[in-house]
Symmetry: C2
Subunit: 324 residues, 2 copies
């Protein structure tokens, strides 16, 4: 997760040349290069296309920017009327640079390295669209969901369609696995989780499966706690990505019998390195490595991460793989 990014000096260098963060996402040459940077340093099993979950509202006509040190800033949508202004016209054309980047990466990747496409889930994207950026309590998104369930459902449904389209198009452009990130699933009140996270993800996954039956789909409903089990029960999902808060023992007992699991080293261990990282990684591998498992972090790589710690982590995981 976030294997390309600010912790790599070559990324920071290219970022300067590219101008804005969105220019980086929408210029295929840049996006290809940034996607490949970590692969040149580390013997990773997969590359994840460099993009952002907010290309979806952007492609529908919402203003999206990225402010250094602050994160994404959107012109917030707060009313049903504003939903009418969201357009699916020209969606594919807008996204074309992303698909060209996927084709470019696939051409350069070794055959045994998988290419991963992704999208945000409807709830998580909706929070950014409604709050106008990151949020702590999501007051506007939640209020809309509670007080106007019909129009909120309409927004979720619009997003489902665009997300499914986007994932299918990424597969057509070379993605061999897709991930759906519901990063703020844990902020939903429990009574809304099925309606606004589990079911939308299930519908998106079913549409993607219908178009590409052989492409695995991983869902990451971050911080959803015991409710990870609801996602694991979905037929259309092949894998569940787990956050750092969930113990590997619980994952092995509750999720791994149903699905491939992915996770869940806290990115802080990658910042710390040394024995602490090694012990934490080995314990996760020991607990989950006997079942269907993809070693990964529980959240994205953070900018403070020394690249040599990533290299060491790759060695630890490879050694485990070779020995088992």
């Amino acid at each position: 997760m976030r294997q390309a990014g600010r912790y790599l000096p070559e990324y920071r260098e290219l970022r300067k040349k590219a101008g804005s963060f969105l220019d980086l996402c929408y210029t295929p040459d840049f996006a290809v290069e940034v996607t490949l940077q970590p692969l040149r340093r580390f013997p990773l099993d997969a590359a994840i296309i460099f993009s952002d979950i907010l290309v979806i509202p952007h492609a529908m006509g919402q203003e999206v920017g990225f402010v250094e040190g602050k994160g994404p800033v959107l012109s917030p949508i707060r009313s049903e009327e504003e939903l009418d202004a969201l357009s699916s016209d020209g969606f594919t054309e807008h996204m074309d640079p992303v698909y060209r980047a996927l084709r470019g990466v696939r051409e350069e990747l070794a055959d045994d390295v998988a290419l991963i496409g992704f999208a945000g889930a409807p709830w998580t994207i909706a929070t950014y669209m409604i709050e106008g950026g990151s949020s702590r309590d999501y007051p506007n998104a939640k209020k809309w969901a509670i007080t106007q369930p019909e129009s909120f459902g309409r927004l979720i449904s619009i997003l489902e369609n665009r997300i499914a389209d986007h994932l299918i198009a990424q597969i057509e452009a070379g993605a061999q696995l897709v991930q759906i990130f519901d990063s703020w699933a844990g902020a939903l009140p429990a009574r809304f989780l099925t309606r606004y996270s589990v079911s939308p993800i299930a519908r998106i996954a079913s549409r993607v499966k219908a178009a590409a039956p052989d492409v695995p789909i991983i869902a990451f409903p971050r911080l959803s706690g015991p409710a990870y089990r609801e996602f694991a029960a979905l037929d259309s999902i092949d894998g569940i990505s787990m956050d750092q808060s969930i113990s590997p023992d619980w994952i092995r007992q509750e999720i791994q019998p149903l699905k491939t699991v992915q996770g869940n080293l806290d990115p802080a261990f990658l910042v710390a390195g040394d024995d602490g990282m090694e012990r934490a990684a080995r314990d996760i591998l020991a607990s989950l490595g006997k079942g269907p498992f993809i070693f990964n972090l529980g959240h994205g790589v953070v900018p403070q991460t020394p690249p040599e710690h990533v290299a060491r982590l790759c060695e630890i995981v490879s050694e485990f793989g070779a020995a088992s």
Copy 2:
């Protein structure tokens, strides 16, 4: 949770007079008044003393301030040597205004309204002390915990002692129930949860129980997911407060057989009001109201909350109580 606060015009009025947020906490007349404000409006079963979890590092000599719109700002502690500067001298004198406020509130409260004292848990307080305020990823606190477990353990242990002292002194001053808030428990990597959240809370609770066997203790390890069960298994804890992400059905099956549970309406329902709030509150009551249960929110009241919605929620809960 946060029943006194910015959503009340009389609070905002008094806040202006008091000067800083800490002046409000440390001036007994103000703290008494602010604690009682919600009780004058709403027929609540309990009052929670108006204070802050950061009075503990402040009492140990760390600089603590509150910046409007930004939250707490502390001079961060990042090394073992800085731990030596933390002092327990004069702790009780520093906290005396808090204890005087508790006595003042107890005098004014009706006999059938309980007075609640509280403290933050060691991990949550440590994050503020080390990051110097709120944080998204807790990079410094986690790095310290990973790379220097001995000195991090020393900080946790210092905090345990001060927190236990503070809770016992609050009970001596009239608190009839105490809560321990581990608001960022969900950010801990799973492998650290027992060491830095469950065990410290257990040790604090045991000390408080030894001093005051009849005073109930509620723990709130927010967003700890399936691991809420670890806290529910603790002998020294009487109740578990649950966040909004956990379904009432799971709570009824997994936690309520072991402990009194408290929770877990999302504060967003209190912002929305009307039917949405009513249905959500009634569903929680229907699911949990037959076992040992304290109706509460899953997190603090937010400033956007219309006070009349709080009044309506009190009616809904009272009607349920009267009918059952």
